[in-house]
């Protein structure tokens, strides 16, 4: 649905993004993850046609953003970082204006506005002035605005910012419900958000893509597989040998050891879950299984690992 090729944006004094390429499939939810100033907003602004790129191309539904901007913009609903609200208008009047701006005509305007308001649950404030609304409501009016005219692609820049926990989970549910019919690209620096809502994650740091994968795969990829911590009541040397023989085990290390109980760190080959195999091995040998725990790096760890590892790698000056 969206294909980005070698996208680069340079300003006079700095390069915002460099050589970014990725694709977003139809019905997918893609998350942009990165620290502030990494280039998330710039990338989104180029996709939406707000800003031209210095190099590279963006295609939305087969149309080039630079060459057929009206065609691509018609297909995109965009929520900028700061919701673009005319605060002196009422919610309804504002949404009607945006609908008309997007080319909705006649009686469809009211239907479209009502549908969008219902989706984000703001029907009860439709006659209120936007200026008088709380931050959470304003954010939701911004999302409603993006949903008008039912665009196949939604670009949401930090959609849950400024919302309270209940609203955040509502918005996440909303975004999840949009997948399938809509292609969603969202940016965030809140990691759990990506884990909960996105099918795929792109981690961006200083204008470059550091990693692209599913949130689950990213974990195992960075870690080179998961690690299982296992505590066994039995002879350490024998247990060690038995575990090494279990398929899927990359390496085993004895962590602590005393007369009866030993703790082992078992590194697992990429992506496999062998906890039940390990348990069976121990129990069948007649040893006591005292504890079995899989240690997952959180996306937070991965994120920090990725973005700080880059720092120590010497980069060619651009």
């Amino acid at each position: 649905m969206i294909s980005v090729e070698n996208l680069t944006k340079r300003y006079v004094t700095k390069t915002a993004i460099e050589g970014m390429s990725f694709r977003v499939e139809k019905g997918e939810i893609l998350g942009f993850l990165g620290p502030n100033g990494a280039g998330k907003t710039t990338t989104m602004r180029i996709i939406t046609g707000y800003m031209p790129s210095t190099e590279g191309s963006v295609k939305v539904d087969g149309f080039d953003v630079a060459e057929q901007p009206l065609e691509t913009r018609r297909r995109i609903g965009y929520l900028p970082e700061n919701p673009p609200l005319y605060t002196e208008m009422t919610v309804k009047a504002y949404l009607k204006f945006v609908a008309k701006l997007k080319g909705v005509t006649g009686v469809k305007v009211d239907d479209d506005v009502n549908r969008a308001m219902e989706k984000v649950n703001i029907t009860d404030v439709q006659e209120r002035l936007i200026a008088k609304l709380s931050k959470g409501y304003k954010q939701r009016v911004g999302i409603a605005q993006a949903l008008l005219n039912d665009p196949p692609v939604l670009i949401l820049d930090e959609p849950t910012i400024g919302l309270d926990p209940k609203q955040i989970s509502e918005v996440r549910e909303l975004i999840k419900s949009l997948a399938g019919n809509h292609t969603v690209v969202l940016s965030t620096h809140i990691l759990p958000e990506v884990e909960q809502t996105c099918h795929r994650v792109i981690i961006i740091d200083r204008g470059r893509i550091v990693a692209v994968d599913t949130p689950q795969n990213l974990r195992s990829q960075i870690q080179g597989g998961a690690r299982v911590v296992i505590e066994v009541d039995g002879p350490a040397a024998e247990v060690l040998a038995a575990m090494k023989a279990t398929p899927g085990v990359a390496s085993v290390r004895v962590n602590t050891q005393d007369e009866h109980r030993s703790t082992f760190h078992v590194d697992v080959e990429g992506g496999r879950d062998i906890r039940s195999d390990l348990a069976r091995t121990v129990v069948q040998a007649g040893w006591g299984l005292l504890a079995l725990q899989s240690e997952n790096m959180s996306l937070e760890d991965i994120f920090i690992k990725l973005t700080t590892a880059e720092e120590s790698t010497p980069q060619a000056a651009s």
Binding site: M51, L70, Y78, N82, P84, Y86, E88, K100, K102
Partner: protein, 260 residues
């Protein structure tokens, strides 16, 4: 075309939901009425001496289009008042959009930049026409109590409308340059003053350059309209000034996109 009207409609509504429209209308109506009242009084006062003079010489008074003189002098002042007022009409056009981030909405909507510019300009011009229409009340008074020549009044209105449109286009351009409405209004006012003062700078000099510079004087071109002369060269002057303003606004939006 429809998109232009959608944008213009919202903009025009905004004028009337914010205090600015009412402030501008109040100031304008107050000042123009003051001016009109002054010149009507002046003409009435001069009627006595003229009649006396006619009686003394035994000849009928020289014909004088009194309503015409009133309109001409009033509009001279109206053009000054407009210099102060017009920047207030255009100050928010783009600067406010930039300030509250709605620019991003307009520039990512399926409309062209030109449609955005023309929509905004249409709104400013419409509001200006409403403003100017309030002076029609004075004309109604003139027609009720005398028989003014219609031609000069028509040409004066044509001139003042073209003059206003040209200044509005310049003001619109300046509003794209800043996020602050205050900066926008002051800068516009300064530019208009300069365009007015070029005339004073070159007065008395007859060199070719002086003539070329004084051609830029915005008021100079209005005088002929006020005395009833509709000349193509003046129409072209205001129209080209307007087109320059609209074009610069359009280019400025493009540059905004590049700078982000």
């Amino acid at each position: 075309m429809r998109s232009i009207f959608v944008i213009a409609e919202r903009e025009l509504k905004t004028y009337f939901t914010s205090p600015i429209a009412y402030v501008v209308l109040t100031i304008f109506i107050f000042l123009t009425s003051l001016v009109f009242n002054f010149f009507v009084g002046l003409m009435v006062e001069s009627a006595g001496p003229r009649a006396m003079q006619a009686a003394q010489t035994g000849r009928p008074p020289e014909p004088l289009d009194m309503p015409g003189v009133i309109v001409q002098n009033s509009f001279n002042w109206v053009s000054f008042i407009l210099m102060l007022i017009l920047p207030m009409i255009t100050m928010a056009l783009f600067s406010k959009e930039k300030e509250r981030g709605t620019m991003e909405l307009l520039l990512t909507a399926p409309v062209t930049d030109l449609q955005v510019v023309l929509g905004k300009f249409l709104a400013a011009c419409s509001f200006y026409l409403i403003l100017i229409a309030t002076t029609l009340l004075h004309i109604v008074v003139l027609f009720t109590f005398s028989e003014p020549a219609k031609g000069p009044i028509f040409s004066a209105y044509l001139g003042i409308v073209l003059y206003g449109f040209a200044l509005l286009a310049i003001g619109m351009f300046i509003s794209t340059l800043t996020e602050s409405q205050i900066v926008s209004v002051i800068l516009t006012f300064t530019v208009i003053m300069l365009l007015w003062l070029v005339d004073a700078f070159t007065r008395g000099s007859s060199s070719g350059l002086a003539k070329a510079v004084s051609y830029l004087s915005i008021l100079e071109h209005l005088n002929d309209f006020l005395v009833g002369v509709v000349s193509t060269s003046h129409i072209i002057f205001y129209l080209s000034l307007m087109l320059v303003g609209v074009f610069l606004t359009y280019r400025s939006l493009d540059s905004l996109r590049w700078r982000g």
